[in-house]
């Protein structure tokens, strides 16, 4: 006879990670999490796209690249290895000559287009990798964040192994999951931003039609405002952190609309990201809100394991680092 009261059996396990920003290491760890944590669903919650593009220049029989502040040269036959090293750091290696480099330096639109091409190409590679590495019974869901260009959407949407349910509700068995990659306006004017009113409208369009009392979870990239999961450094007009009393002033930058939705619909769990440094777990009413944070630049995948029972209640959670 058990000494402690046995709880309900687990019906669904989700492994959630977010904000990997093009880190090949983190994506591979994300896929490896399927074997380690044995989840039913792998969920990558936004900001999958990388931030840096690294020109690799040809000079005679060598390729040149500047990596970690050091100029490196490799023989022409070793390009793949150099590219793999660059990719592992979350940057996009692009072979080019000096004329093309000068063109990119002079033309922001051309650079932007190249970034979008590379991000879409990476999305294709990741879909192939997911198909190759994941067991058939593990669902792989990827949703965008504010930093992800829309150019990658069709790649994921067309893929047969990866699901891409942005701005809609997905059935996960015991619970339904609503996903939203939009965030309120940021100082960087990124791809998926909209005013709070529009956020609220998008959320209501997803959650409103759900039957009353139906168990649901939120996969909203933006954390709820003032939850402690949305504390980011306050920035001045030049986007530099504001210091108060000798340290960065931290301010809440989450979404009021997300907070209101949580209070109104009381989902079982809220899975969020966006603010890398606000890793944590908070309760808003009955809702367990989780932001696993991000440390992608160190090649570290931060995540969360969430166990749900057959009736949709949350059994347990675990923040992970690996």
């Amino acid at each position: 006879m058990p000494v402690f009261r046995q709880r309900k059996a687990r019906a669904l396990r989700i492994f959630f990670a977010t904000d990997i920003h093009g880190s090949e290491v983190c994506f591979r760890k994300f896929l490896a999490a399927a074997k380690v944590y044995e989840p039913d669903v792998l969920l990558l919650g936004g900001d999958f796209a990388g931030k840096g593009l690294l020109p690799v220049l040809r000079r005679g029989p060598e390729w040149l690249a500047r990596l970690d502040g050091q100029d490196l040269a490799v023989p022409a036959g070793e390009y793949d290895r150099l590219a793999a090293d660059i990719t592992r750091r979350g940057f996009y290696p692009v072979r080019m000559d000096r004329d093309r480099l000068a063109e990119l330096e002079a033309d922001p639109a051309a650079l932007n287009a190249l970034f979008r091409e590379e991000i879409a190409a990476q999305a294709r590679r990741w879909c192939e990798l997911a198909a190759e590495r994941l067991e058939p019974h593990v669902r792989c869901i990827i949703t965008p964040g504010n930093d992800d260009p829309v150019d990658a959407d069709p790649v994921f949407a067309a893929d047969s192994r990866v699901e891409f349910p942005d701005c809609r509700v997905t059935d996960l068995g015991p619970v339904s999951m609503a996903s939203l990659g939009f965030v309120p306006p940021t100082p960087w004017n990124t791809e998926r931003e909209c005013p709070e009113e529009e956020m609220a409208k998008r959320i209501d369009e997803m959650l409103g039609p759900l039957p009353a009392g139906a168990a649901c979870i939120l996969n909203f990239h933006c954390p709820p405002y003032g939850s402690g999961l949305d504390e980011a450094p306050e920035l001045d007009s030049s986007l530099k952190p504001v210091l108060r009393g000798g340290r960065p002033s931290m301010v809440p930058v989450g979404s009021h609309a997300v907070r209101e939705a949580i209070k109104r619909y009381q989902p079982v769990v809220g899975l969020h990201g966006h603010i890398h440094e606000s890793r944590g777990v908070q309760k808003i009413g009955r809702t367990l809100c989780i932001n696993p944070g991000s440390d992608y630049s160190s090649g570290v995948l931060r995540g969360a394991v969430v166990d749900l029972a057959g009736d949709g209640t949350c059994l347990d959670f675990l923040l992970t680092t690996g």
Binding site: V36, P55, A73, D147, W188, G228, P248, L318
Partner: protein
């Protein structure tokens, strides 16, 4: 090119011909600790000026002692260990030290041995440091009294020596440390850097003071300070009469090596905050090398000057006479016999600023050490709470300061309790094996590094490496781990065979060590069984490092 090993292939550094990285505008900022902050944590964990007390202890505990060989041999041991920890940090780049390495690389149960043990012993060390600062308060007040020509300050030195006064001062130190620790890690690091700068300044000034004075100057200054015309020679003669053996012996120097290993203890501690370091492997390596070089140069240089200016026979006689026959020593001079170089500097210096520096060096050093130890200890607690081995509330991070406030409060409350016990109860039998525990921590690091290539090779040798590079790297990690283990074992054995110096195995001390080491696995086993019965997430999952593939 994920590190030195990978870049050993065809890639090579060239001049500035390659292009810059293009960055697109995206959101997000990440907090990170750089090399200065990591160096500060390492240096502060050592307590730079405490080495004078340790020199004195070495001279007292061993006949014919000299510090050159022990200083350099101990630095070599830490240098080898530094590479072992570097590989561990690269494989598991996060806070928690040996707890995290052992739990991820060897097994969660083994990790829990280190986790709780480190938390308890480091918390006790906090109290002993605070207690030490309190014991040095009379020395500080005497020095300040001399600097300010204040009889009141000098007289106050005599009124803060009771157990109650020592307890209250050590409690005050803990409160100051608590208040400072609640600031962000960066701010704590800045405070620590400032305190270390003061210690280093004291060292540099002491070197200057010793360099410009001769042995005759010191003898004259000691005579004037002691109101005893032949104080210098009298101490040597009294030492000889007390059976002090002068000169040096290799056997004695080898036996002192563990002393100096413990003296450097902390010099690598930036790995405990590995999760907050920018580019952990590189930052840790730079911080550790800088710290080791600073300590070797300063300590070696000061010891050379002390030998030249003060004289080894005098130091040997003073240390042994002060310990064996304090009454006889007190009849010759009132100079604190354990203050070592700081005491010599105090009586040689003529200006008040120098006296203030020497007088305040030890108490300020203890505050710096405790700030660093709170940072380190709370990260170990944090890591265990994060893994659900301790209540999850312990891992709660403050919204404003981003520091683990609950863990800090726990450490400081328990530390204050230890302060009380240290002041009013004789704990010497119970904590006698503390030195052995610190050596076992080093051993744990070596063992974890040996296991790393066999248990989790994928964590250090990623898919980007060819088979040749991979095999070379794994072999190197094994060798570094084995070398660290052998050197740590040497330290452990030396500590065990010199019980009169490093602590005796008694019923109390052995039971204490077993409880400290055994409580972690017991808690792990209970917590895991409870979680299994409740159908909640298995503890072992929390302690599994994700492979890169």
């Amino acid at each position: 090119m994920t590190g030195a090993e990978a870049s050993a292939g065809p890639a090579r550094a060239v001049g500035g011909e390659a292009s810059r990285l293009f960055i697109r505008q995206t959101s997000g900022l990440v907090r990170e600790l750089g090399i200065p902050a990591a160096t500060a944590i390492s240096l502060a964990s050592v307590a730079v000026v405490n080495t004078f007390i340790n020199f004195n202890a070495g001279l007292t505990a061993f006949t014919k002692a000299d510090m050159f060989l022990p200083l350099f041999a101990a630095a070599f041991i830490w240098l080898v260990a530094m590479f072992a920890y570097r590989y561990l940090l690269r494989a598991v780049p996060r806070a928690g030290g040996e707890y995290v390495y052992l739990s991820r690389v060897v097994s969660p149960a083994v990790g829990s041995v280190a986790g709780l043990g480190i938390a308890v012993v480091f918390t006790y060390v906090l109290s002993t440091n605070a207690h030490f600062a309190a014991q040095f308060t009379p020395f500080m007040l005497s020095g300040l009294g001399a600097a300010f020509h204040s009889a009141a300050l000098a007289n106050a030195a005599g009124s803060v020596t009771s157990d109650t006064a020592v307890f209250l001062i050590s409690l005050l130190v803990m409160v100051v440390v608590a208040l400072l620790s609640m600031a962000s890690v960066r701010l704590v690091a800045r405070v620590i850097i400032s305190l270390i700068a003061l210690q280093l300044l004291a060292f540099v000034v002491l070197i200057g003071v010793l360099a410009v004075h001769s042995r005759a100057d010191f003898a004259a200054a000691l005579a004037a300070y002691s109101h005893h015309p032949g104080a210098y020679q009298a101490i040597i003669s009294a030492g000889r009469a007390n059976g002090v053996a002068f000169g040096t012996s290799v056997a004695s120097m080898i036996a002192i090596i563990p002393f100096m290993v413990l003296n450097y203890n902390g010099v690598l501690y930036s790995y405990y905050v590995g999760g907050e370091l920018r580019r952990p492997g590189r930052t840790y390596l730079h911080a550790s090398v800088i710290s080791l070089v600073i300590l070797v140069v300063l300590w070696g240089g000061v010891w050379a000057l002390l030998r030249a200016r003060i004289g080894l026979p005098f130091m040997q006689a003073q240390a042994n006479l002060g310990a064996a026959d304090p009454a006889a020593y007190g009849r010759i001079t009132s100079l604190n016999s354990v203050a070592g170089g700081l005491g010599y500097g105090m009586i040689l210096s003529s200006d008040p600023v120098t006296k203030i520096l020497f007088a305040t060096a030890v108490p300020l050093a203890e505050v710096a050490v405790n700030l660093a130890f709170v940072t380190v200890t709370t990260r170990v607690l944090f890591a265990q709470a994060f893994d659900r081995l301790l209540p999850v509330g312990v891992a709660k991070v403050g919204e404003r300061n981003h520091a683990p406030n609950v863990a800090i409060a726990i450490v400081l409350i328990i530390g204050a309790g230890f302060c009380y016990l240290t002041s009013f109860v004789n704990l010497s039998n119970i904590v006698a094996l503390q030195s052995l525990f610190f050596a076992l921590i080093l051993l744990a690091g070596g063992v974890a590094a040996i296991f790393l290539p066999f248990r989790r090779p994928e964590l250090i040798a990623g898919s980007g490496m060819d088979e040749g590079d991979r095999a070379t790297l794994l072999r190197r990690v094994t060798l570094v781990g084995a070398a660290t283990t052998v050197l740590a074992l040497f330290t452990v054995v030396e500590i065990i065979v010199h019980p009169s110096v490093y602590g005796r195995f008694s019923a109390e001390s052995t039971i204490t060590l077993l409880v400290v080491l055994g409580s972690g696995p017991v808690i792990y086993a209970i917590a895991r069984a409870i979680r299994r019965q409740r159908n909640t997430i298995d503890l072992a999952l929390a302690m599994h490092e994700l492979p890169p593939e």
